[in-house]
């Protein structure tokens, strides 16, 4: 069930929220909490009920190992068993065929690939629980009962696509959730954030995909990609990915607030970054934090000299790339970002303030960063390395430039109008405040600004406009049929 699906918006969410509020209203806080857990399991099972057992098995396995680790923190073999159990599960579902395929290429083996369906959200709930086990081993986890733990892992707003929540921020909230009064002001803020996220997904990301996707499909099919086509495709995808993922995260945070839980932010205007280091402090922040705390620092971080630091960075980014998917394009993408980060750190060491000192310097920094990121997204998006090379060649002008035909199309690019949408999207990502900035004043973490969320008529009108527009698009457009343009038999 996706957040922008009709069944979620018109059935699951109203019913779940209605029952939850009723239970809270009549003082059944613990029952409300358990109900969230059940609803989350239903939410997961809606996709494929067979994998509910896997999710529950993973929760039970990690809960009991976590408890044992918390009781005797020095139990290292148990920690290894716990982490290995999680990684074997993830490895089987996500990486087995990738591994076998590559092994068969390298060695004279003929291991048969298996038909394996990737369980939804497995990368997220596996990482979340590995972090829990590691911290339990360190004695840094708070005692919790099974229901609290289950809701921590399965809480539906963050279950299938993050943010990767950390037990330190979530467990205390779930622990006192049953006795806390429902915060209607936070719920209102959640509604607005949900509306913003839904708008980003439906009105921006999906629209951009209409232009970008055919270009990538054409490259995969072996077609030559020209200059404008290549740039339109790559920039559309760059923006689509941000609006899609950050929109989803906004919806997750908004939904969390509707159920009285504050989920951490995942994005902070990443395309405003003037360096790749800064980009990673703003993009998929919960994954960056996880990789830093549970991979980069255990590898030695920056404590063992510069060469070792760069090596650790590269390992972290390569594995971070592989986490996104079992394909060499993700590994190359991670490696490319590893190289970017190494260059960025080396540059900073030699010229600490050269680019950040002046507006011109920041502009140069932004341009280089953006270019590097767009190039890397091409690898991220393409299903094969040759297709990515084809698009990059097009962007570099190696395939020449083709002007739009009479209908405004250029090859696989349906219309040159894509550039208007790209310009509009760029304007939003560069000049509009992000969701975290919007709610900062209400959360008392920043001063009030013109855009700050409040219980005002302005925000009521904005939320209503965003919600009704996107709901109209979702529902009224799903049933339409495309117009029959010409007779085709």
């Amino acid at each position: 069930m996706l957040f922008n699906s009709i069944e979620f918006l018109f059935v699951f969410l109203p019913i779940t929220l209605g029952i939850f509020l009723t239970l809270k209203r009549f003082g059944y806080g613990k029952a409300a909490m358990a109900f969230i857990g059940l609803a989350s399991l239903f939410f997961y099972a809606w996709w494929d009920i067979r994998f509910l057992a896997l999710l529950l098995g993973s929760v039970v396995f990690n809960y009991f190992i976590g408890r044992r680790l918390a009781e005797s923190a020095s139990h290292r073999p148990l920690l290894i068993l716990g982490i290995a159990g999680n990684l074997v599960c993830l490895g089987w579902f996500k990486y087995f065929n990738f591994f076998v395929g590559n092994l068969n290429l390298l060695l004279p083996t003929e291991i048969t690939a298996q038909t394996i369906i990737l369980p939804l959200g497995i990368s997220f709930f596996t990482f979340q629980q590995i972090a829990y086990l590691v911290d339990a081993h360190k004695g840094e986890t708070q005692e919790s009962n099974f229901i609290e733990y289950m809701v921590f892992v399965t809480f539906f707003p963050q279950l299938i696509a993050g943010p990767i929540v950390h037990h330190k921020t979530m467990m205390p909230q779930f622990h006192d959730h049953p006795v806390r009064d429902y915060d209607w002001a936070k719920a209102c803020m959640g509604l607005s954030l949900f509306a913003i996220g839904l708008f980003k997904k439906v009105m921006l990301a999906d629209e951009l995909a209409r232009y970008g996707s055919p270009v990538f499909a054409a490259a995969l099919a072996g077609n030559e990609i020209s200059l404008l086509e290549g740039w339109a495709g790559s920039l559309s995808y760059t923006l689509q990915l941000y609006f899609d993922f950050s929109g989803y995260s906004d919806m997750a945070i908004g939904l969390g607030l509707l159920f009285g839980v504050r989920i951490p932010a995942n994005f902070f205007s990443p395309y405003k970054a003037t360096s790749v280091i800064e980009f990673w402090q703003r993009w998929h922040m919960t994954l960056s934090a996880f990789l830093k705390d549970y991979l980069y620092i255990p590898l030695g971080g920056n404590r063992a000299g510069r060469p070792r630091r760069y090596l650790n960075l590269m390992i972290t980014m390569l594995l971070g790339g592989l986490w996104h998917g079992a394909n060499w394009t993700f590994v190359v993408w991670g490696g490319l970002h590893g190289v970017y980060l190494i260059i960025n750190h080396a540059w900073r060491k030699v010229f600490p303030d050269l680019l950040n000192a002046t507006p011109f310097g920041r502009m140069v920094g932004w341009t280089i960063t953006m270019l590097a990121i767009v190039v890397a997204w091409v690898l991220f998006r393409c299903e094969s390395v040759p297709a990515a090379v084809e698009i990059l060649a097009g962007m570099a002008g190696l395939n020449g430039m083709v002007l739009p035909d009479e209908n405004g199309a250029i090859g696989a690019l349906k219309s040159i109008k894509a550039f208007y949408l790209i310009l509009g999207g760029m304007f939003i990502v560069l000049f509009a405040p992000n969701s975290l900035q919007i709610i900062a004043a209400a959360e008392r973490t920043a001063e009030r600004k013109w855009y700050s969320w409040s219980l005002s008529r302005r925000w009521l009108a904005s939320t209503t406009a965003l919600l009704s527009t996107t709901l109209y698009l979702i529902v009224y457009h799903i049933n339409r049929i495309s117009e029959f343009i010409y007779f085709q038999f």
Partner: protein, 363 residues
Amino acid sequence: MKPKKYFSITLLVTLTIFVVPAIIVTVIDPFFVIHKKLSADIGFDGTDRYQNAGLINSFLADPAERFDTIILGTSMSQNFPVSAFKNEFGRNALKLTLAGGRARELGTIARKAIATGRVKRVVWEIFTSFADENPDATHKNSPLPLFLYNDTLADNWRYVFNNDVFENAFKIVRGKIIKKKKVKRSDLEGLYTWAYDDQFRKYSEKPNLAKLYRKVQASNLPIPASPPETMRPAFPNLQKNLFPILRENPNIEFMLYFPPISHYAYAVYGHKKFWRQMLMRKNLLEETQELKNVHVYGFDLNENISGSLQNYMDPNHYSPAVNADMAKAMVKYDRILTAQDWKSYTRALVRKVNSFAENFRPP
């Protein structure tokens, strides 16, 4: 503002804005799916995928409207003059054609129309999709909204909450109420008809004929007199989307016809495609020979029609005059084909197509 009030107003206003278009659709009902016309001067819309459902629900099903004949087919049947099928009892014909309609879609419309209990005669074009392999296929770009043609009333929400339908309803509201003008829509006689004079003219002009000549030269000709030995095709579209309907309704007269596409079209078809079509026709003739309620018509052998490109605007689409001639022939039971005719019919067709190709000269 108090948070609870903010929350309630947001949801209430959002839901109100959200349902207003649906209310407008329900009241205006531009395709008459839910109820009959609000005003007599609101005509019919050419969006056949929606309009056919409304024609069945609000017109065919209504005894007062006196319809007993339906016309099914693709864009090649859209130019039939419905009045030509008006019978001696004064009952009228209703066009339920579907541009680009696939066999399954036409079968679905037929079933829904027949379920009204008012259909006595069906004029049905049998074209290429009945020879296709997938009996469940719908049109790739413009599929029939199947939710309007099933028995599940609850599915009607997909009609009510629908951007296409709302746009049409809004046009009526704007025209009738705001601008106080008659909304440009069709009557039943003119519904779905098309006649692109310019395109008919251009098709037989020199530059196009030169292009067609090159295509004929590049084609694999002549077409052999009989199908390849190895060709034993099955026709699941006939089995699923036609024969059951013919057999289940012995009291309904079915007038099935093969549309007279141009000899040029057959010449550039390729052997395999040509013979697959012909074998589909053979299968249909054989399976229906025992059915007294079925008549099959073939119009391809008339060289004045199929052999003259002036009648066409592309390889398949013939002029409205051809439809009128066919209608006249059909009501007189002229040009009927039987299973016994198939061999001579296909031989004659192959000869005519090959001869057309051979004598086709550059302009």
